[in-house]
Each structure stands twice: as C-alpha cells, then as structure tokens.
C-alpha cells in the first residue's frame, strides 16, 4: 500500500540496501528470488530465467540481480555515468498480472522513490533484441526526466510467440541510486553506509576491463572461440540438451560484444554474426519448449 507518511526528501538508500529491498519486496509478491547467472551476459534479460522461462505455457515469477556487461560502454573509469559492467535488477512474471503497474510503483516506494512526489512517466519504448530474436512493447519509465526502468511486455522470444505474455521489469540500480543518493558520479555511490564507495568496489575493474575490451583482447583467438562455441551449441542442440546449449549462446554473444568493442567487426559482418547467434538461440528455444512438456 501507499505510504501514508509525508516524506520531505527522497529517501536515501545505499547501494546494497536498494538491491536487498527490491529482493524483499518482490519475494513478497511471490517471486522466486534467484542469484545472478554465472556467466557473462549483456543484460538481465539473457538469464535463462527470463529468456527460456518466457517461452511455453507454464506460469513463472522470478526476480534477481544480474551483473551486465557492455564492453563498448567502458570508459576506463573516467566517465561519471558509463560503465562496461553494472547491475540490473530484473523481475519476470508470466502471465503479466493485471495490477503490474501498481506492483511496480509500490516497489519504487521501497527503494526511496515515492511516486507522488515525482514526475513518473511511462514513455513509449519498443524493445528489440536482434541477437535473441526477441521483441516486446512497453515503456521506459522516467523519474523526473531520468530513465530508471524498462517495462516490457514480451511479444516474441527466440523467434517464438510468447503465449501467455510475460512482463519484464528491468531496474538500473546504479542510476536509481545516483538519483536517491543525489550523486553526480557513479563512483561516489555509497555502497553500504559503512564507508565503502562504488569506486572501491569497481573502479579498478572498469579501468582494466576497458583496456581489455578496447585494446588487449586477442581477436584472432576470440574469432576462433566464437566458431568453437557455435559448433558446440549446434552439437548440443542436436543432442537435445537445451540449457547447456544455451550457455554456448551466451558465450558466443559475449565474445561477439568484445570483438565489436575492439572494432574489428564491419557493418556487414555485424549483421552476419548477430544472425548466427540468433540461429543457435532459436535452436535452443525449440528444444527447450519441447523438453519442458
């Protein structure tokens, strides 16, 4: 329910409490609280708890935090807003409940944002992931002009129609905390109210991974690994094991992202690689749906 207390400023919340509070809140809404998937992924959506579980007729509710990697967004720790590694908090519910907007707005209350004090806006944003062969309709949710959440009704995943339709909420934890903590630089975020800042946890990693992504990654090897991963995926698909095969898709996708950051993939090649990842993902989804029955 809406908090009856009048608040005078956005409630300050440290980084880890923000995650914990979201977990608690969505746990109360009947979500299975999962841990991050143990592989490099580009977004919370790639966790099999979202991609694969959004397929088929079975009901499903889950929430988890997912470290997400976007190699091209690395800025050597110099940019106050951009990171090649950051946290997404992901909620996936199938079928999408009628009161999802209410559930979402109440969740903001638990992390220090009372919707009544702010300009919360649902701005059209149609989501598409060519590598996943996925598409959805929804909004980016703006809080006083800042995008804090992606709110998406999945229409298609891995080339298959979603039936019933899942709703996906993706919170950008860093952005939300920069908002509630009133910080201009992500590295100044308060992690635990005991003196640890985001800088201590991640700054070195941002610097080193930016070097790796942009300069050091051995592209010849990565091209080879991509081929091997794709082969492995196809082999596993032919053996009818969907989840191990899906891991290979994730691997391929991450390798592609690093190659992209290294600037060695031309425009024409890009489309080709994306198509290859989409094809194996589709193969995986097909057997996952079959094996689920």
């Amino acid at each position: 329910m809406v908090s009856k207390k009048k608040k005078t400023k956005p409630k300050y919340q440290n980084f880890q409490d923000t995650i914990l509070n979201l977990q608690k809140y969505w746990s109360k809404q009947g979500c299975v609280i999962l841990q991050p998937y143990d592989m490099e992924v580009g977004a919370g959506t790639f966790h099999p708890a979202t991609t694969l579980r959004s397929l088929g007729p079975k009901h499903w509710r889950a929430a988890y935090v997912q470290p997400s990697r976007r190699p091209t967004d690395g800025r050597y720790g110099d940019n106050p807003n951009r990171l090649q590694h950051y946290y997404q908090f992901q909620v996936i519910i199938k079928p999408s409940p009628k009161n999802i907007k209410k559930l979402y707005l109440n969740s903001l209350n638990t992390i220090g944002i009372n919707y009544k004090d702010h300009d919360i806006r649902f701005v059209e944003d149609d989501w598409e992931s060519p590598t996943l062969g996925a598409a959805g309709l929804g909004w980016e949710v703006w809080c006083d002009g800042m995008e804090i959440t992606q709110f998406t009704y999945f229409q298609q995943m891995a080339g298959f129609e979603c039936k019933p339709v899942s709703v996906e909420l993706t919170y950008g934890i860093e952005r939300i905390c920069m908002f509630t903590q009133q910080k201009k630089n992500v590295y100044d975020l308060d992690w635990n109210s005991q003196g640890v800042k985001y800088r201590e946890v991640f700054h070195q990693a941002e610097k080193e991974f930016s070097s790796y992504n942009f300069e050091l990654a051995n592209t010849d090897n990565l091209f080879k690994i991509f081929e091997m991963t794709e082969q492995e995926a196809n082999n596993l698909i032919s053996k009818n094991v969907s989840l191990p095969a899906y891991d290979q898709c994730l691997k391929a996708s991450h390798i592609f992202n690093i190659l992209d950051a290294r600037g060695v993939i031309s425009v024409a090649q890009r489309a080709e690689y994306i198509g290859r990842i989409r094809d194996i993902t589709k193969g995986v989804a097909e057997i996952w749906i079959k094996n689920q029955k």
């Binding site: 907007k101 702010h118 002009g145």
Partner: protein, 688 residues
C-alpha cells in the same frame, strides 16, 4: 435527445498513437450514426495517455425504420433455399408474394415499420468498431486474446444515463471510471457526461488535447517572457509533449553554463529529442543554459526540477567528454581508419568512397570554377567524423560534427562549412547549400552514391527506397536548379563509373549510365510537377534538352509555364500551332521532304518576305545568346512573331497551284517552327 460517451481506460498509450485512435473512433461512430440514420448534434473526441474518449450529444433515442418492400430469391429457386430464406428473415410463407421485375420473377415481402433503440445499435456496434481500430503498433498481454496499443483495462459506456451493456474480449462495459491511473483502485460511478467531466476536472486533468496544448503554449510564452528568453516552439515536440501529459506543469530549469561550449546542435538534440525539453534562446538568438520542462505532476518539493536538471547535466557531461576528446583528434591522421568502415557490400569501404570522391570532386570543381585542392581536402576528411564517438552517440549529427572538428582544427572556413552541409539537402523542403564548395561536395557524395547503388543494381522499387536514392537524386536536382548552375551530369556519371572501375568495382557501365540518367530525369519531372509546372510543358522541355541541361530544362519550363495561360503565352502557342497544323497535314498528304531552307527568290509578296525577315531575326537572336539567356526576353521575342505569322496566313494561301511556290511556303513554315523549337519543342504543348 440523449448523450452517449465512451471512455477506454488503458495503461499509457504512446503519444504518437493517440491522434490516430481519436480520429478513428470519432469518424467510425459518426459513420455508424449516419448509416443507421441516428441524428446527433455534437461529437467530440479527447485523449490523455490513459484515457481515450468519445462523446456525442443530442442523440436520438430511437430510430424508425420505414415500411419497405424487400426483394427475396427468384421464384425458380429450390424449396430448400426458399425455406432458408424464410427462416433467416423470420418470415412465414404467407408473408411473401411474387412480383415480376425486368430481371425475372422474384419473391418479395413487406418489412413493416420498426422502432429500433439506439442503445441496441450501440451494444451491437461498439465491439465491432473497437475491433477494427488500427493501431500502428499493438500488443497482447497476460492470457488475453485482445490486441491493443497498451493493455486496455476498462470500458466505460453510457447512453441516455444508462450503461451500454456489452462484452469485449475478456472485458465487460461498466458505468464507472478509474480515478487513479497509478493503482486502478479508486472508481467513480458516472451517470452523465457532466458527472464524468467533473470528476476528471477534480483530478486536475485537462482531457481536451487542444486545451492542453494551448495551456502549455501559453505557459511557455509566459515563462519565457518573464525571463527575457525566446522559445521557438517546435510543433512536433509540442504535439508529442501534449500527448505525454494530462496535468501539465511547466518548469523553467537550467544547467551549468560551462556546457554552452558544446556545439549547439548537440545541446538541442539532447534537450529536444532525448529529454523532450524546449530549449531557449537569448535576445541575440544564442542558445542559453535555461530550458523548459513540461512535467506531469506538481513539483511540491522541488524534486522534479532538480531531477531534470541533473539528468540533462549528466547527458551533457557525457557529450562534453566526447567533444573534448574528438575535436582534437586530427582528421587527416584518422583517414586511414575509414578502411575498416564498410560503406556497402560491393561498394567497398568508406576509404574507397573517399578516394573516388576526391577525383570526382576535383572534376566537379573544374565545372564550378572553385579550387580543386580545397575540394579534394574536403572530400578526404568529410567522412572521418563517422569514426568519432560523438557521431556514434548522435548519428543524426554526421557531417555537422565533421564540420565542427574541421573548424576546430583550423581548416579553411569554406572547407569546414562544406563538410557540415554535405548531407544537405535531405528532403524536398530542407535547406539547400549555397556556397560552391558545399554544393560541390554534396553533389560529389550523392553522385558517387547513386552510381554505386545503380551499379550493383539496388535501384529503388516502386514502394521501397531503403538507401534513399530518390532523395539523393532530388538533392542533385535541387543543388543544380536552386543554385542556378549548369552541370553536365551525363559526363559526371560517366566519370564516376570510370572511378568505380579504377577502384576494381565492375558494373555494366552502359546499362548503369542509362538507367541512372532515366532515373534522374524521372525525378526531375517529379520535382517540376511539385512546382506546378504543366506536364506538357515538362515534356516539351525534356524532349528538347537532355540530362546535361537540368537547369535549362527547369528554367525554360518555369518561364513558359508562367505565361502559358496569359495572352503572351496563348499568342506563342497560336502562332506555332497555326503553322504546324498546315505543315503536318501537307507534309503527310504530299509525302514531302523539307530542307528547312526557303528560297527568297520564290517569294511572291511582302507577307512572305516579312515572315522570312522575322525568322532570320529570331534565328540570329538564338545564335547570339549564350548561357546567360534571359528566358522572358526569348519568349517576348517569340511572341513578337504573332502579327507577322497571322498576317501571313490571313493574306496568303499556302497551297499555291505552283508546286515550287507551295513547297517554298511550307519550307518557310518549317523554318518558323524549327526556330521556335530552339526554346522548347512547342509541338508537345496541348492547345487550349
């Protein structure tokens, strides 16, 4: 007389889908009432992101269907079919009778006068109309089969203070609306439209989009005047913002002045396209650090202003970071990076394109009489901004950023300007470069693109033009025509093909050349039609001049089109046609071959001599005009021949008994027509 209203309550419908939905519902309900002869006095439609409303006032409660004779099946029909007909119309055998028509004998029946309740029509028709609504993009949700722009939550439908009862997919109509769009928990029963409007008003919602738009506009005016600022309202943005809010609250915010050193285009895109803010200008027209936000809530605690200011600063800090990094990265040293940027499959990399452009640009510079060296430099660096972070972030600023980089790095002004403008014009209305370096670079880029895509046979189809080749061709035409320059496009295409060949791209050169010429000429026709030039004038001009004379084709058409319905134009056409008509019939009848040379020795009277003299005079005029031909003067000259040719016809019979004299007179007329054809081929002009 009653009122009917329908409110469709949804999760937030995208701004750009609302007006289409409003119009669809309004016209379809109006159409329904017209078809059923239901009279109404007033109809309205409104929307906010969560509500779509239509309202009809003064609606007839019932309609009376008049007694009517209805035709059934032919009397020759099988018994079974007749029974089916009776059953489906709820008739007994005694109700029908036979009647002869000119198509044979048929069964008929009398449909008696009938009262129909409007309420029933609505119950029946609302779901059908809702099913047909055309969302440009729509979705499913939950377990439902319904497809809508965003989840449809509730349907309020009232006629004559009563609920219009119907089911629509998983929903049933109601007599209440939701007061809170957030939680959808507080409902309010309504009986009348006034009830509804009052409850909406209490929520501070301005449901009327026009009222909302005016309100926003006035508030922006008020705030900007008060703060001595100017706002050039972008109407697309105003429209979008209007459909993004229901209780607009206009706030003046600001960002740190230090960001004003970033190029203005970046500031504007960030504010306008990304954040949907209105930027402001000072008295001198310079952009300021103040901007206007249209929020959807009262800012009681100041959070909204603060939040928006922080967001725009975060974005600008990002842009500033890239700007400072990119502006000093030497453009010349980065050219080699273009090697890794694929231009298009089959057309090489941007480096290849750059090399072709250098040569083609040099060739064009000779025609435009501008420095070859400078245009070669512009060609070399104009695509380098594609590898910059800023163009990665703001792709719509390609070219513009390159111009800024060049300026920062001390390239000459006309070089940096040409880079900035080289994607222009990008539409039929857009700004056209005027400086010759800009014109030259833009032409070079567009020609290379057109020749390449035609070379690999990726021509636009009737409906699709994914590589914007029509736009490129119109661009070339506008650059030539609107700058009043003459450019031999045929030769340029030919040279561009040679350059592709040197680049080792093998096309079928002859076919490509011909196809592309035809394509450009088709676009020229389109462009001239857009300028309201008559098609026969266009054809006459195109018949006389080829692709190397685009400017001439356009200007001659335009000048003649201007006077075509005036006395002077009619005189010219009449003079020409009078001569042509006789010529055509005589030449055909007698199978003559004319040489276009009349022999003055055979002239019998002064009328022939006068005409001959006039023709000589006109010929001399045409021989002596150069590229600076004044088309109005030419047309005046042609017109001056009218009294002479009319006198000739009024006093002379061309068909003289003497064959030599007759032929000589026809030669004279042939000379006359051919001389006129120096302007455009008037035989293609349709006489009035």
């Amino acid at each position: 007389m009653s009122e009917f209203f329908l409110e469709l309550f949804t999760e937030e419908v995208p701004a750009k889908l609302q007006s289409g939905a409003r119009n669809f519902l309004l016209t379809n309900f109006e159409k329904l009432f017209h078809e059923k002869s239901v009279i109404f006095k007033k109809s309205l439609t409104y929307s906010v992101p969560n509500r779509l409303l239509i309202y009809f006032d003064g609606v007839n409660k019932q309609i009376i269907e008049k007694k009517e004779e209805k035709k059934g099946p032919s009397i020759l029909v099988q018994k079974q079919a007749l029974d089916g007909f009776l059953k489906s119309n709820k008739l007994l055998e005694k109700d029908i009778f036979k009647k002869k028509t000119d198509k044979g004998e048929f069964y008929f029946y009398i449909k008696p006068e009938k009262k129909i309740e409007t309420l029933n029509i609505l119950k029946d028709s609302i779901p059908k109309i809702l099913d047909r609504i055309d969302w440009k993009k729509s979705m499913r949700w939950g377990n439902n089969s319904l497809i809508w722009a965003r989840p449809l939550k509730s349907i309020l439908a009232i006629f004559d203070n009563k609920i219009v009862d119907f089911n629509y997919h998983h929903l049933s109509s109601t007599n209440y609306t939701y007061l809170d769009k957030e939680f959808e928990e507080k409902t309010k029963k309504v009986r009348s439209y006034k009830d509804y409007r009052d409850s909406i008003k209490k929520l501070d919602i301005i449901i009327d989009q026009n009222e909302r738009k005016d309100f926003i506009k006035k508030e922006i005016d008020k705030i900007s005047k008060k703060n001595n600022l100017k706002v050039e309202i972008n109407h697309f943005l105003l429209e979008e913002v209007t459909n993004l809010v229901e209780q607009p609250n206009i706030l003046l915010c600001k960002f740190d002045k230090k960001f004003l050193q970033i190029p203005r285009e970046i500031l504007i895109i960030t504010m306008q396209n990304h954040q949907k803010y209105f930027h402001t200008l000072d008295n001198k027209g310079n952009i300021t650090n103040q901007f206007i936000v249209v929020a959807n809530n009262k800012d009681l605690k100041g959070f909204i202003r603060l939040g928006n200011e922080r967001v725009v600063e975060a974005r600008l800090r990002d842009a500033e970071f890239f700007w400072n990094k990119n502006k000093n990265q030497n453009l010349l040293k980065q050219i080699s990076k273009l090697k890794t940027m694929n231009y298009f499959k089959g057309l090489g990399s941007y480096y290849d394109k750059m090399q072709r452009m250098r040569k083609l640009g040099g060739f064009i510079s000779d025609h435009l009489l501008i420095s070859k060296e400078k245009i070669e430099i512009a060609c070399s660096i104009c695509k380098v901004d594609l590898v910059s972070d800023l163009v990665g972030e703001f792709p719509e600023l390609q070219g513009i950023m390159g111009g800024y980089f060049a300026e920062e790095q001390g390239f000459e002004k006309d070089v940096s300007l040409s880079i900035k403008e080289h994607y222009l014009p990008n539409s039929l209305e857009s700004k056209i470069p005027k400086k010759y370096f800009s014109v030259g670079l833009s032409l070079t880029d567009k020609l290379d693109t057109l020749v390449g895509f035609f070379g690999i046979n990726l021509k636009p189809s009737s409906s699709k033009d994914p590589f914007a080749l029509r736009r490129a061709a119109i661009g070339i035409i506008r650059l030539i025509v609107e700058n009043n320059i003459d450019l031999k496009i045929k030769d340029l295409i030919n040279y561009s093909l040679v350059l592709y060949q040197e680049n080792n791209f093998v096309f079928e050169n002859k076919v490509t050349q011909k196809d592309l010429e035809n394509f450009i000429l088709e676009r020229l026709k389109y462009y001239m039609k857009e300028k309201n030039i008559r098609s026969d004038v266009i054809n006459a001009s195109l018949y006389t001049f080829g692709i190397n004379h685009i400017n001439k084709i356009y200007r001659k058409s335009l000048a003649f089109n201007k006077i075509i319905n005036k006395e002077s134009g009619l005189d010219i056409i009449a003079s020409y046609k009078r001569a042509l008509n006789i010529l055509e019939s005589e030449v055909q009848k007698n199978n003559l071959e004319l040489s276009e040379i009349a022999d003055p020795g055979l002239f019998k009277n002064e009328f022939e001599k006068k005409l001959y003299k006039k023709i000589k005079e006109l010929k001399k005029y045409f021989v002596n005009i150069n590229n600076d031909e004044n088309y109005e003067i030419t047309l005046d000259n042609l017109r001056s021949a009218k009294p002479v040719i009319f006198e000739f016809f009024d006093n002379i019979i061309v068909n003289d008994e003497n064959n030599a004299i007759r032929k000589n007179r026809l030669e004279l007329l042939q000379m006359f027509c051919k001389t006129f054809d120096n302007y455009i081929n008037f035989s293609k002009i349709e006489s009035v």
